[in-house]
């Protein structure tokens, strides 16, 4: 095992999440960091069982044109990032910030890397196409001014996110290859010089399985970082970004977990047709949060724990998502990372962590079974199916067994007693079930099971905050609603499930943060 790299400090003040181009990329939207200063010498990649996630930083002094731009100060001194910078005098970042008042314009899409090595160690001036870097006309006056000002402090840039299928890992390698080539061109240096200045910070299982592939194909240094460490570093960073963390109100949880075909997309006004979250709710977070909390216990069925969800109802209540615009301390917490499989990690207040549990019933289980049971060929198709399904046709409900509630145990007749319990019939009468109903039933089953196991661990370790990460979630309302319902249900309304807009990139963000800071830059 390699010695863990030093964690770099990222100034998150004023950070904004850029607007997504489409629902498919909503979890890959960039994050603009107007006050981030240091050059970055690496590309981070987290290769899991099903997906490879890439994170890299491109410089740009221009703030993005984004509907989600909110003027927030963010956190200038993130207490959870172990960095000397966090102890730097407040005057310095403020001064740096004042150098570049927010300009107008669109963010450069073909962002390029600007490795530290490309900065002249003596003058710290930047070679190559400075106008591309600054986005300003290359008037020599302006240029010289900038060069003098940008000694170590040329601020602004975007954190970029890309996702690839692990089965098509070559596409991921090609993408990184192209990024390196474009960066060499933009910086006016040779590809070999660029390669010297770039390294790959790799994590996830694929960091080991594909180490040689990355190293040999890209001809750059590849460093492997521990998966769990990166997940936690990524969590600590991403939860500092305004509007990154969100949760469903109890009304929304009910509306989503109860919305059947009769309800559907129209019942989710703030959601795209495929049930993907779009952007912060216009409702003021505070009021929504309060209503959500106060409504909590009352909207939960007063029943004994039984691990079953309610079946669709024709009249789902109002919908609301709360985004944490002002990040709050996020440790200690439980991180439930749902990829192909599920890892459950306990994080202490000091950042120490332990993988305390997990389950093999994760995203890979849902994707695999639904690819066998439905015509869906992509995960989004599967989720779209589930939006239109009614699980009551395949699930055995309490009422199917009792003909009524099991009132003595408080089991409602509408609760799921047995997932897929209606399918098996004597004599193997193989009936047809709709892909929609099958998809909804399995989504419920997998999500609720994860929520149940997550809650039991949160209870065991007495943790209040439960974050759900991983590409399984994909901002999908039914998934988020089911996980949220399970936590609310099992905790009798005392605990809440928290979600992340960059849920799938915790590991790659953590790897990106584990850059080795050069001595003269530390």
């Amino acid at each position: 095992m390699l010695p863990s790299a030093k964690v770099i400090h990222v100034d998150t003040r004023g950070a904004v999440i850029l607007s997504e181009e489409s629902p498919e990329t909503r979890d890959s939207r960039g994050i603009y960091l107007p006050n981030y200063i240091e050059p970055v010498s690496h590309i981070a990649v987290d290769v899991g069982g099903s997906l490879a996630k890439v994170v890299y930083f491109t410089r740009s002094p221009e703030p993005p044109s984004s509907p989600s731009v909110i003027a927030t100060r963010g956190s200038g001194t993130p207490s959870n990032l172990s960095s000397p910078r966090s102890h730097s005098p407040p005057s310095e970042p403020d001064a740096a910030a004042s150098l570049f008042p927010p300009a107008i314009g669109k963010r450069t899409t073909n962002g390029a890397l600007t490795p530290l090595i490309l900065a002249d160690p003596y003058t710290h001036s930047y070679p190559g196409n400075i106008s591309e870097l600054t986005g300003l006309a290359n008037s020599s006056l302006v240029r010289d001014t900038i060069l003098r000002r940008t000694v170590h402090h040329f601020p602004g840039g975007s954190l970029n996110f890309e996702r690839f299928e692990t089965d098509a890992i070559d596409e991921c390698v090609e993408f990184i290859q192209g990024l390196i080539e474009r960066s060499a061109d933009v910086n006016g240096v040779s590809i070999d010089e660029m390669r010297k200045g770039v390294k790959i910070m790799a994590t996830g299982g694929g960091a080991h399985k594909f180490y040689e592939l990355f190293h040999k194909t890209l001809c750059v240094e590849v460093r492997r970082e521990d998966e769990m460490e990166c997940l936690i570093e990524g969590l600590k960073f991403i939860t500092l970004i305004p509007d990154e963390v969100y949760y469903f109100s109890d009304e929304l949880i009910q509306s989503v977990t109860q919305s059947g075909p009769s309800a559907g997309p129209s019942a989710l006004p703030a959601a795209a047709p495929n049930g993907v979250l779009e952007r912060p709710s216009p409702t003021p977070p505070q009021s929504v949060t309060q209503s959500g909390l106060s409504a909590g216990p009352s909207t939960l069925p007063a029943v004994a724990p039984n691990g079953v969800l309610e079946r669709p109802s024709p009249n789902p209540p109002a919908y609301a998502v709360t985004f944490e615009s002002n990040p709050t301390p996020q440790l200690p917490c439980l991180l439930v990372n749902i990829g192909s499989g599920v890892s459950i990690i306990k994080v202490d207040e000091d950042g120490k962590f332990e993988r305390v549990s997990g389950t093999s019933l994760g995203g890979g289980t849902l994707w695999g079974l639904l690819s066998l049971l439905t015509p869906a060929t992509t995960f989004d198709e599967m989720l779209a199916f589930s939006e239109q399904g009614d699980n009551a046709t395949v699930d055995m409900l309490v009422g199917d067994i009792y003909g009524q509630d099991y009132s003595r145990l408080g089991l409602k007749s509408t609760m799921i007693a047995s997932s897929f319990g209606k399918v098996f019939k004597k004599g193997g009468d193989k009936r047809q079930f709709s892909p929609e109903d099958i998809s909804r039933s399995l989504l419920y089953a997998v999500s609720n099971n994860i929520g149940q196991i997550a809650y039991m661990n949160a209870e065991k370790y007495n943790l209040e905050r439960i974050y759900f990460g991983g590409c399984f979630i994909r901002g999908h309302a039914a998934t988020i609603g089911t996980l949220s319902y399970a936590i609310r249900f099992w905790s009798k309304g005392t605990k809440r499930a928290l979600f992340l807009r960059h849920e799938g990139f915790l590991g790659s963000i953590g790897a990106w943060l584990k850059n080795i800071v050069e001595e003269d830059d530390a």
Copy 2:
């Protein structure tokens, strides 16, 4: 809710489990009770979501010819049965026992009911065909002798078990109808008189759903009893039967959970081809128990909890089942009842109980999904498939992701990271997977998930004994092995999964025990 009935006392001394006719009925084999005396006036039925279980008692002074006959004293004073009888002087049962030394002969298969009402309240003599009742030649001398001796104390009889599909509930009703008719004939009374003396003790969800059906069709009194109460009463009774409770040695757990197609039935010498347990292991229980316990920790992988099972290995270790021939105190305990769905019930030392958890991922889920994914038309076919399968073709193992162990977390490369994680492929390439491999993977997934949730509850409530009941188990080695492995794994070898040969009949046995004892018989 009806007032709960008084629990009758059953003298379990010398109780023996009869030999099964076939693996399909191995969990329905009768229990011979040589010292049970009181007439029984009822038939018990537990109607669940998938199966209806029937229990009834037939008199016979003859002990059965059974390979599992073992001379045990059993428990004369069952401390867990709240009955006045349990406080009776020890001399009485001893005397009663000495009256009827074990005779030779085969057990009468067409057993009939002998309701209390048919015993003359004054002479307590039995009407009708006494030779049918006693199985002795009707020499008047012997007959008179017996009659005098059998005042209230005509001992011996069998507890009989039958199972029906809930979808075919009419078959269950017809069976009971036939039993009542046969009993009227054997006792030489009219069907109407017999109906007056018989009642149905019904439990399970179907007790409510099918109440009218039973009442109207059979024209007998139908009493409904609470499902959970009956489960616990049944557990307390059945665990007093010698050789009823059993568990797998750690070597056996390993052998079963690791036995792939290369291993298979031949690797399970004591198991029938379909992996069903046959009878007590010849190995002396004591030594096996000790070896099992001592081998415990060492055979468990020294890893952090991760909820994954090992994949098949070509060299499974030795096989051994331990039957508890001398029942030990069984409370407090956790009962995990696995039917279509799963109920997890905490039972205190004093018999108080609470349904503390459950999951909708149960037998119905396995049966339903496998009926969609395989050509199997019965549960036993599904289990037979799983015997021949290799889950590694459909499950994503740690090694598939890492290309090696995740040694830092102690995750072996052979562990399941994602159930069905290998199935979903980009572009929806729908490949073919064998029914065998799919069945094994899903059996692992469902069983291990139940074991994991069961363990977390046993840990939460600090319970040492974890009983698994319900028709899901069916004495199937892979199921038992997986549940056992999960408990051993998660408890780091400190807890053990316990199983029951009449696993599916706890509720119906409990209902049968809830007979109202007549005043003059109490």
